[in-house]
Structure formats: C-alpha cells, structure tokens
C-alpha cells in the first residue's frame, strides 16, 4: 500500500511547512518571471521584481490572474516550459471566449497523482477498494486524474466512461464497486435511477462516496448516505489550476484540508481585492507553487470560502477551508462544470453570423440533473419563413454548446414577447427554480 501522499504531509511540522511554502513560492516567482511573458510583463508593469518578495504575506502585492487572462492567452501563452516538455495537454472548459489550455510536465503529472492520491487516502480508501468514476464529459480531465491517483495508491479503478446511469449502476453492482467518485447531482440522479431498477442499494458493494464539483449541504450528504448506503466525503478542485482534490475532507469531515505544500491559499475581498482578516469569508485565491508547465499566480476562483486556523482532531497540519454556496462571479456551476455567460454569448454570435438576438439562459432540473435551457428570441434578424432553417439554428447552437461545455443543453426559439418578463435578465443565467 502506498500511503506516502498522505503520510509525508502528516509528519510535517508547521514551521517546516511555512519554510517549504516560502521556498516554493519564491522559486515559482523566479520561474514565471523568466519564462512566462504574461507574468514578466505584469511584474514590470507594477515595477516589481521577484527578489522583493521576502515573505508569504508579500503575495498581496502581486496582481491577480483571472479566467479572462487564461482565455486571452489561448492556447499556449501561459506555459512556462517549452512544448516538448509537455506530456499531456488538455482543454479546461474555461469561462471566457476561448477555453483555457493546460499542460503537464512529467513532474506535474507525478504531483497530480500525489494530490489526488492524498485526497483518496484521506477518505480512507485502501488498495482493497474498487473505485468507479462517474462524471459528465465536461469533467473528463478529472476522470483521468482520478485514474492516476488511484493507481498511485494501488487501489483498483474503473475509469470514467460515457455509460448512461442505469448501466453505471449495473457496473457498480456487478463489478462490486466500493467507492463512487462523482458530483452531488449525479449521485442524486443515480439514487433516483436506482429506484426504477430491479435491485436496490443493498445489492451494491458501495461503502464510500467522494463528491466533487459542486457544493453540497449536510442535508444532501445525508440523503446520499442513506440513498446509497455509503459514507460521504467531499473534495474541492478547479479545472484551471488544474485538477481535483486540492482540498479534501478527512475522517472528521469538518472542513476541507488544503494541500498547502502544492498551493498557496488566500482569502480576499471580492470587491477590493484586499486580503481579509483571518477567519472571514471572501473569495478564494489560489497560487500554484509546485506546478512547472502552467504555474498560476493569485488565481481568482470565484468561490467563497474562509480558512480555519484551529487544528483538526485528525492531526493533519494542513489548514482547512470552509465554503459558502454563493459565488463571487458570474460563473454558474452545472454538474460540476463551470459555465460563464460569455461562452454562451460568443457561441450565439458565432453561429448566427454576428446577429445579436435577445436570449435568456435557464438552469433547469430534470431528475436531479441540471441542464441549460436557452431561450432565444426570434426577432427580425433571425426570422425566416422556412421552418427548416429555424430548426437548423437551434440545432447548431445546441450542438456547439454541448461540445464546448460537455453537459446537456436545450435550445428553444421563442417569440419576442415571451422574453418580456425577463428583460432585466437578458444574456444572464437564471436558476429556473428561483425565477418567479
């Protein structure tokens, strides 16, 4: 059993961890200054030099990196190493006009195995476990990371596949899956689907469920624990940083331990960008300190959280994060995938050759699974007396959005008056349950 990913960090003292963070932070600044034009220019713009950063607190003087920056530097503008050093390239379903393209060097891949392996070990996964990964296509990258992490800790993996829910449950039953890795909404959807099948949760060998991609409350945790007969752990990850499990619940399940040996975590005021006093909720900002191919400095996640400073009964010296459900930006999380209004706007513009009809985006739920429903107003610019061409429009937009986002999309063409009640929210993403 390879328990190193968790054990090596269990033994570390607070002082050692602070020194480690400082060393890695400073060498990261030196590397990005030298290798990434985007960051080099930023340093110059703010008249800063990596040599100025004598302590971890000085990080506040560095500018932020946003999703837009990643999108603007598509495809390889933020890579810190030559392309030939990159072993894996994947597209992160980013939240800008362009996706964010992320790369990994051999070292980065090894780091990610460790990060994910640690997250699994914290959920008490052992080599005797069979892990099944169930995500939507939009989280395919996480599927790969979980395969790697599982192999590192010598457990068994049934990698992510595109089977429909009923088949996933059959696999779970027949292959004796003991650990399910999925999103909260998919877990609920599986429970729902299970109720229509000939077997129930008792016929499954499931013992644990690891949830990521969306926040969940204790109510949801209990429902899933009951519905699948499992103990539920949560973990936190990002697609840009990139990857799952950068913070994870331990056996106490009272906060998400942050892998501080690989990332620096800050909480800032979302309006002003100033660091907030210890213990206050604010926007989570993440800096990579071990990543070689795609280092990111002060990335604004849009997630709302605070850092808990007191020690956890489990004994890990990694501090814990506590999250709030509201975000600080315009991004919506749907089945774990982040969707930004800008992506929808640019897709519509592209597919309609520049016309700009009014539209509203709904997030609706069907059997616990969220979907995007796009209502586009057929105004004069779009109108055609050929039904076929109107159908074509909705088909191409739907297909394009599904390809980009990796989740289900419905497109409805409506007459202009239908959108009247939503005229304040045109172009925005609305939760259908909230709208009156």
């Amino acid at each position: 059993m390879n328990d190193q990913p968790l054990e090596k960090i269990r033994k570390i003292s607070w002082k050692e961890l602070e020194q480690l963070k400082l060393e890695r932070f400073q060498s990261t600044l030196n590397r990005v200054y030298q290798n990434v034009p985007f960051y080099h220019d930023r340093f110059k713009e703010f008249q800063l030099d990596p040599g100025d950063f004598a302590s971890l607190e000085d990080i506040r003087y560095l500018p932020f990196t946003t999703r837009k920056d990643l999108s603007d530097n598509y495809p390889y503008g933020m890579f810190a190493v030559p392309l030939r050093d990159i072993l894996r390239i994947h597209t992160s379903v980013g939240s800008g006009e362009n996706p964010a393209v992320v790369g990994y060097t051999n070292r980065d891949l090894a780091n990610w195995k460790e990060i994910v392996g640690r997250c699994l070990l914290a959920s008490e996964v052992s080599p005797n476990d069979i892990i099944q990964v169930v995500f939507d296509y939009g989280l395919a990258n996480w599927g790969r990371d979980f395969k790697d992490g599982t192999e590192l800790i010598e457990a068994s993996i049934i990698p992510m596949s595109h089977l429909p829910s009923e088949k996933q449950l059959l696999v779970m039953r027949d292959y004796r899956t003991s650990v399910l890795v999925t999103t909260p909404s998919l877990a609920l959807h599986l429970i729902y689907t299970l109720s229509f099948l000939e077997f129930d949760a008792e016929d499954l060998a499931l013992k644990k469920c690891l949830l990521l991609g969306e926040q969940f409350d204790e109510d949801t945790r209990m429902r899933i624990e009951k519905g699948l007969g499992v103990k539920v752990w949560g973990a936190y990850g990002l697609s840009e940083v990139p990857g799952p499990g950068i913070a994870f619940e331990c056996r106490e399940r009272c906060g998400f331990h942050a892998s501080e040996d690989h990332f620096l975590f800050e909480i800032v005021d979302p309006e002003t960008g100033e660091p907030l006093p210890q213990g206050e909720f604010g926007e989570l900002v993440i800096t990579t300190i071990t990543t070689k191919a795609f280092p990111i400095i002060r990335f604004r996640t849009g997630d709302r959280a605070r850092i808990l400073n007191d020690s956890c009964p489990c004994g890990l010296s990694l501090r814990r994060l506590e999250f709030l459900p509201e975000r600080t930006d315009e991004v919506i999380v749907i089945r774990g995938v982040k969707v930004h209004p800008v992506q929808i706007a640019s897709t519509i513009r592209k597919k309609l050759n520049g016309s700009n009809p009014a539209y509203v985006v709904f997030v609706s739920r069907d059997k616990y699974l969220e979907m995007i429903e796009l209502w586009i107003s057929v105004d004069d610019s779009l109108f055609s007396d050929k039904i076929k061409s109107l159908e074509m429009i909705s088909e191409t937009i739907k297909k394009e959005l599904q390809d980009i986002l990796g989740i289900g999309v419905r497109v409805k063409l409506v007459e202009p008056p239908t959108l009247e009640p939503y005229r304040e929210k045109l172009g925005k993403i609305i939760d259908k349950d909230d709208s009156s």
């Binding site: 050692e16 020194q19 060393e23 400073q26 060498s27 030196n30 040599g51 004598a54 050093d85 051999n106």
Partner: protein
Amino acid sequence: MLRIKSIHTYYKKIRALSNVSLSVRENEVVALIGANGAGKSTLLNAISGLIPVSRGDIFFKNKKLNGLKPEEIVNLGISQVPEGRQIFQPMTVKENLELGAYVRFKKREKKEIAEDFDRIYQLFPILREREDQVSGTLSGGEQQMLAIGRALMARPRLLLLDEPSMGLAPKVVTTILKTIENLRRNGLTILLVEQNARAALKVADRGYVIETGRIMLEGDSEDLLVDNDVRRSYLGKDYEKFYE
C-alpha cells in the same frame, strides 16, 4: 536544522544572492547545483559568516547566525570544506587535522580529539599512511579527503562542502561520493555545492537549482534528475533528442 529565509547578499554593488531561501533538515544531504558564478559558494560563505547578509535571516537549530563571527559559527557546529580544498600545504597531514580541531583544544577535549583522529583514519585509511607527509605533495583526491577530514575534526553537526569533485578524476569522485554517503549514514547533515550536478543529485536527498543568484527550482533529487530544465542545463543531455 538550517533555515535560510529570503537573503540578499551583495558583491560591491551587484546583488550576488537575491531572495534566497533554502533549508536542510537533520541528517539530510541537500545539493545546491548551478553554473559557475551562480552564487553557490557565496551562499556557503554567507552561512559560515565569511560574508555579510544584507537582508533576510539564517537560522541554525533555531539560533540566528546573522552577525555572528565565523569562529562563533564553527563553534555552533558548522564546518566548511572550501572550494579548492585549501589545505595548509606546508604542514603535514597530521598537523592539518589537528588544526581542524582547533576550537576543541580550547574546550580541553584532548581525549575525544584523539578518538576522532582514529575515526578519520578509518574513513580515509590513506591519510593514516601519509600522516607525516607534507600535505602539498598529496594527490588531488587525497587532498580532498584531507580537507574533509580536517572539517570533520571540529565535530560539526552540519558540513558544508564546496565543490568536492572539482578537478578530480571520475574514479576519485566516486570515492568522495561514497564518503559523503557514509558520513550521512553516521548521522551527519550535509549541504553540498556542486557544478557536477549528476554526481551531487545522485548522492543527495533533495536539491536546489540556483541561477544568477536566484533559486529557480527545488525538489527531491530523483525528481530533479528527470526534470527537463535540469537535464538540458546541467546534466549535459544530448540536445538532438530534444530538438529533433
């Protein structure tokens, strides 16, 4: 054991070390690799108190070294084997070793010092053979062993080795590396500075890469050995493999 935090040092008006942080844990062998002029020797000299630190701190077992005199630092348990050996050429092997224990004579540790002679000779049998020989006449490898032996006579807790493989034949380098491993097994903590990156990383637990006074990379030595930047810059990898 050793904790360096964000130090700057200057050589006249030039900043030789810029915001350097580095640490060595007890019983570790840590390698500092970099090209000529990158700042490796400067760092060792800063630890030993031979050059001043203009910003930042150096802690040895939680005691701040900034501002202490070099002899005070030796007394605390840090011994440096300088670049180029710098043994006292006109003196014999035995005399060189005695001088290494200088600070301990004052503490009246004569018995322990005699035991240490034995230990050094066990580590480097050739030195016992040449005990009364004038050290300037020893071969390069023997001089290196003498330099290390001399540093060990001070019974250091932390040994700073500055380019031990410099100018030595490959076979001799292997012997020196084996010695370093031996020393570590006997509980010593070592900070090793080397241009021969491959040799250093093979014997070290962790490494730091320094370029023009800045730390660019740190990690476990086995990871650094396969890191592409390290391979290109320091391990003399065949460029064709990358560019074709």
